[in-house]
């Protein structure tokens, strides 16, 4: 005859069985074992209770009924929980990689260029491109480099075997100058700097002038770690009333602190460019060693970053500006140079190999 202790034992057995029923089939097994009308554990218990001594029956009956109720409830609760957490019939390995449309990457020179353009746009500069093939006048003469000028050696030039028509000009803004437009000259060389574009702009515009010319330039250098016969340059020009060397320092300091780091140290040192007077080279604290001295900065702690200076009065005069009234500053550097320092690229030729393993390291 059953006793209360037997029911407790059955309850313990049931709880263990239920705990092991983690799937619907096993849960069904447990349910059948306990709740089947024929041969189920509960049915057997009820039968046994009905055969118990009449004195025990009310207590045992109450315990058995409670047990039956608990079993039903627990199985139902487990069933509901299994159902809600049931994997779909076509369940997947969620750790497998997803299906991706291919994503391309912008060239690091484009990324740096976009940043430069954005910084100077915010400072009120107009961004210009301009022709890659130029005439001698705009590339040299108007920039204070007459024929036979030794500075022409500084940027040894690629000449075209035959002149080609100048079609790369486009429309750099509306002409504001009332002076006659200079005659079109056929292009005879690959521009050695983007300064040529500054001349073209000043020929068509009266001050104030705030422009950044950006694009490919060409010099006769055999490719090595730091040189290529083609590279990219940007050059800025500001001409207005009362522009000073102090303005140049402030502008360029703001630029390098934005494109590198806000605490970038700067230094300006006298230099020589035929189209600026005074001329200055700008250095930044070495981005690799933070000024401690390393092979990249030749242990000086400084890296040369920009050439700059106050626009030479002869250049202003060549475009018909009054050099007594107006002054200005100009600056420029290689985009590759900035990119090499920013991204830690140690071989300039990587920019032209178009190796996807290189390009894919850059963002979109």
């Amino acid at each position: 005859m059953p006793e209360a202790a037997d029911i407790d034992r059955l309850r313990a057995e049931f709880e263990a069985a239920l705990a092991g029923a983690a799937t619907e089939p096993t849960l069904r097994e447990v349910r059948d074992r306990y709740l089947a009308r024929k041969g189920g554990v509960i049915a057997a218990l009820m039968k046994a209770v009905s055969g118990a001594a009449p004195a025990d029956r009310p207590v045992l009956g109450k315990l058995a009924n409670q047990f039956k109720h608990d079993v039903e409830e627990a199985i139902e609760a487990r069933r509901a929980s299994l159902e809600s957490g049931r994997p779909a019939a076509d369940s997947v390995d969620v750790t497998l990689p997803g299906r991706q449309a291919p994503l391309g990457h912008l060239h690091p020179l484009t990324l740096v260029r976009q940043q430069i353009e954005s910084i100077f746009s915010r400072m009120g500069y107009e961004i210009l491109e301009g022709p890659e093939v130029e005439d001698d006048y705009h590339n040299f003469e108007a920039l204070n480099m007459p024929p036979e000028h030794p500075a022409r050696d500084m940027q040894d030039t690629f000449f075209l075997a035959n002149p080609v028509p100048q079609t790369g000009l486009g429309t750099p803004g509306t002409r504001t100058s009332t002076r006659p437009a200079p005659p079109d000259r056929p292009a005879t060389l690959l521009r050695t700097h983007t300064s040529a574009m500054q001349i073209r702009y000043m020929e068509a515009h009266e001050p104030p002038v705030r422009i950044v010319a950006i694009g490919k330039v060409f010099r006769r250098d055999n490719p090595d770690l730091t040189h290529t016969p083609m590279f990219h340059q940007f050059e800025g020009l500001l001409v207005d009333d009362g522009v000073t060397f102090a303005d140049l320092k402030g502008t360029l300091t703001a630029f390098v602190r934005e494109i590198f780091a806000p605490d970038t140290k700067v230094m300006f040192r006298p230099s020589f460019f035929p189209y600026t007077e005074p001329s200055a080279e700008m250095f930044i604290g070495c981005v690799f060693c933070a000024g401690a001295g390393c092979p990249v900065c030749k242990r000086t702690g400084w890296l040369e970053i920009l050439g700059s200076g106050m626009v030479h009065p002869s250049v202003l005069e060549a475009v018909g500006y009054d050099a007594e009234r107006y002054s200005g500053f100009a600056f420029g550097t290689g985009i590759e140079r900035v990119a090499m320092l920013k991204y830690g690229v140690d071989d300039i030729r990587l920019f032209y190999e178009n190796d996807l393993r290189f390009l894919e390291q850059f963002s979109f």
Partner: protein
């Protein structure tokens, strides 16, 4: 310029260590390339400062920078009254039995020619002299040549010693080379001269290429007894031209072509003669001969006080201005509002007021100029819309899986040829660096094909590259284009399958996407472009204007560029300049969203295989009512059930009216009209 600091200390009383001398001069504009053995500073002298290609020039800078006196063992020629031409007699002069006659036939190239004679005994230089030369990077040769080099390094003025007895007629004449004249220079090379070049000739032939290199025939040798020392001023442009044309550079030509001091030649001769005596190498014979027909003195400039502040943004104390300029050898006189500044002839770079302000700024210190942000007085002009369009093109292609390439503007002529327009040759460079960089690219595609080949060589199978840039032709000059190349997977490999190789329509899809982004209604038609495989090549046009092409690169070309034979490279190129002219960039004008439902009908027709789907679409478009708002091919089938030479094309047509709900009857009528037109115009049979 290698500067031996102990040599510098001959002229300036500097106690500062070598490193400090280097860093101080570097902040004055003399870049330090290196310091050797704590005694030699290697300076990079900028092209405007030939006067500092000398110990004396750098001593003057150091004296000013450290504010100490400069002591030169010769009189400063700038302070001299200019020698008159009186002594400059181009007639023979007899001195101690030796004579030399000097004349200038080309005063436009050689405004001054001075010479001195000296009796010499050729031998080695004393150790101190040889050591100084060696430290400065000059190899000692013999006492006479060494003295000329010593003076070159010290004063910066090149001298040349001829063996007098080897000069025909004992005469020196600065004249243009005769047509066909030749000379064997000191380096042993025989060189052809032309009448644009200045030579120093004796009675019969050229004995030196003026300012560039002496001739072997009159070279000083161990048996030389009397030398004629040349100290001249040659026009920079002439020396530069000659040096370039001969491909011959020397210490002398470097200085002459940048500009030497026209008033220093006699000083340099006297310095050389005194050195010869001092080292016991010889003694001067008589006084120097000086032919200087049009003497030049210092140039006076005015420096206005207010212009210093005006240009630099900081005022400089009057006393400091005068100290700096005087220290650098300018004669300074106070005048109302500023100074009158007399510029010594050695300062070929100082031509106007701004140059003087730079001199002040260099020694005042760029670091003492404040930093300031210039006021913005006007709104920046609108940006050039073409640049925005290029940026858009870049982003569309990157989003389509293409990485951006930058390739060479100049390429191999053989690589360029297949991509030049019909009947056009690429634009050649006059003197290319190499065959690889010989012509300007007529298209961006050769560079992209190289990029693909590079990646394929590095085991990258799926390559998608694009480039935006300029291309060139002789007739049209510079044109801006966008191009892309695609090879490998069309749908990327994935564990779930679906991978397939790229095909023509992947490339077309990208071009269509560009057209969509640029708001251009692109049309495609069969192309015969020579670089593309016929039948897998389409010309791309907008209206009547061809703007580019898309297709499969001819295998011969990809194989020639080192790609595996089986690789299919799909390429496309669009002319952005042509597109710029076609489509002014306009703001989007939004269409109202449809308010009524649409009705979709599929149509399948069997048509001739030569008929292009473009024509089918155009026919449908022409006859359909305005309620046809969408049309898209969704199946193309050829094979069982379709007669030979024909194919089945299925299109899905969407109809919708903007003002009412269309009825089946409306659409049915339209469909019948469309089918009838297809049947009569193209012999289409409904399937």
């Amino acid at each position: 310029m290698k500067l031996l600091v102990s040599w510098l200390r001959d002229f300036v009383d500097l106690r500062q260590p070598v490193a400090e001398v280097a860093s101080t001069l570097s902040m004055c504009g003399f870049e330090v390339a290196g310091i050797e053995a704590d005694e030699v500073i290697d300076f990079e002298i900028t092209a405007n400062r030939p006067d500092c290609l000398s110990v004396a020039g750098l001593a003057r800078e150091a004296a000013t920078a450290f504010d100490v006196p400069l002591r030169l063992p010769w009189a400063d020629p700038a302070g001299h009254s200019v020698t008159s031409g009186a002594r400059a007699v181009p007639t023979p002069s007899r001195i101690d039995g030796e004579r030399i006659s000097v004349s200038i036939e080309a005063p436009d190239l050689c405004p001054r020619y001075a010479a001195a004679l000296a009796e010499v005994t050729i031998g080695p230089s004393p150790d101190w002299l040889a050591a100084r030369l060696t430290a400065a990077g000059v190899r000692p040769i013999n006492n006479v040549v060494d003295v000329t080099n010593y003076v070159l390094l010290e004063i910066g003025h090149p001298l040349h010693a001829f063996d007098l007895e080897r000069l025909d007629g004992r005469r020196l004449c600065a004249r243009r080379a005769r047509p066909g004249e030749r000379i064997r220079t000191l380096d042993g090379e025989a060189r052809a001269l032309d009448p644009e070049m200045l030579v120093i000739a004796d009675g019969s032939s050229a004995q030196a290429v003026a300012g560039v290199m002496g001739g072997a025939a009159s070279e000083v040798w161990s048996g030389t007894r009397v030398i004629a020392l040349e100290s001249a001023y040659f026009k920079p442009a002439s020396v530069r031209r000659t040096s370039k044309r001969l491909g011959l550079k020397s210490e002398a030509s470097t200085r002459f072509e940048r500009g030497t001091d026209i008033n220093v030649p006699v000083v340099a001769l006297e310095r050389a003669c005194s050195l010869l005596e001092r080292i016991g190498a010889g003694r001067p014979v008589g006084a120097p001969i000086d032919v200087y027909p049009a003497p030049r003195g210092p140039v006076d400039l005015t420096l206005r006080r207010e212009r210093i502040d005006w240009l630099l943004g900081v005022g400089v104390d009057d006393g400091e201005v005068a100290r700096i300029l005087t220290g650098l050898g300018f004669a300074v006189t106070g005048v109302p509002g500023g100074w009158r500044v007399s510029v010594p002839t050695r300062r070929v770079d100082v031509l106007r007021e701004a140059d003087l302000i730079e001199e002040v700024a260099r020694h005042f210190g760029y670091d003492k100029v404040p930093s300031h942000f210039p006021p913005l007085r006007a709104v920046a002009p609108r940006p050039d819309p073409r640049m925005a369009r290029k940026a858009l093109v870049r982003h569309v292609l990157a989003a389509a899986g293409f990485s951006e390439a930058v390739s060479w503007t100049f390429i191999d002529a053989a690589d360029a040829a297949p991509f030049a327009g019909p009947g056009e040759a690429p634009v050649p460079l006059a003197y290319p660096l190499s065959e690889k960089f010989a012509v300007l690219r007529p298209s961006l595609l050769p560079g992209l094909v190289d990029g693909v080949a590079h990646n394929r060589r590095h085991q990258i199978r799926d390559v998608r590259l694009f480039e935006v840039g300029a291309s060139f032709s002789a007739a049209e000059g510079e044109r801006h284009r966008v191009a892309f190349a695609l090879t490998g997977a069309g749908v990327m490999e994935h564990w779930g399958g679906g991978m397939r190789p790229a095909d023509f329509f992947d490339a077309v899809g990208v071009v269509e996407r560009l057209g969509e982004a640029l708001a251009l209604p692109l049309r495609f038609a069969d192309s015969t472009a020579s670089c593309l495989v016929p039948g897998r090549a389409a010309a791309v046009s907008v209206g009547e204007t061809t703007v580019g092409a898309v297709g499969l690169l001819v295998p011969a070309e990809s194989e020639r560029r080192g790609l595996p034979g089986g690789d299919e490279i799909f390429v496309a190129e669009l002319d952005l300049d042509a597109i710029d002219r076609l489509a002014p960039i306009a703001d989007t004008e939004v269409r109202a969203l449809p308010r009524f439902p649409s009705i979709v009908r599929d149509i399948s027709v069997v048509i001739d295989e030569r008929l292009r789907s473009q024509q089918v679409r155009e026919t449908i478009q022409r006859v359909a009512p305005a309620t046809l708002v969408g049309m898209r091919e969704f199946d193309r089938y050829k094979g069982q059930g379709i007669p030979e030479g024909r194919y089945s094309l299925s299109l899905r047509l969407t109809f919708r009216a903007s003002d009412r709900t269309l009825t089946d009857a409306d659409v049915q009528e339209a469909m019948e009209r469309i089918m009838a037109a297809l049947a009569t115009e193209h012999g289409a049979i409904q399937r």
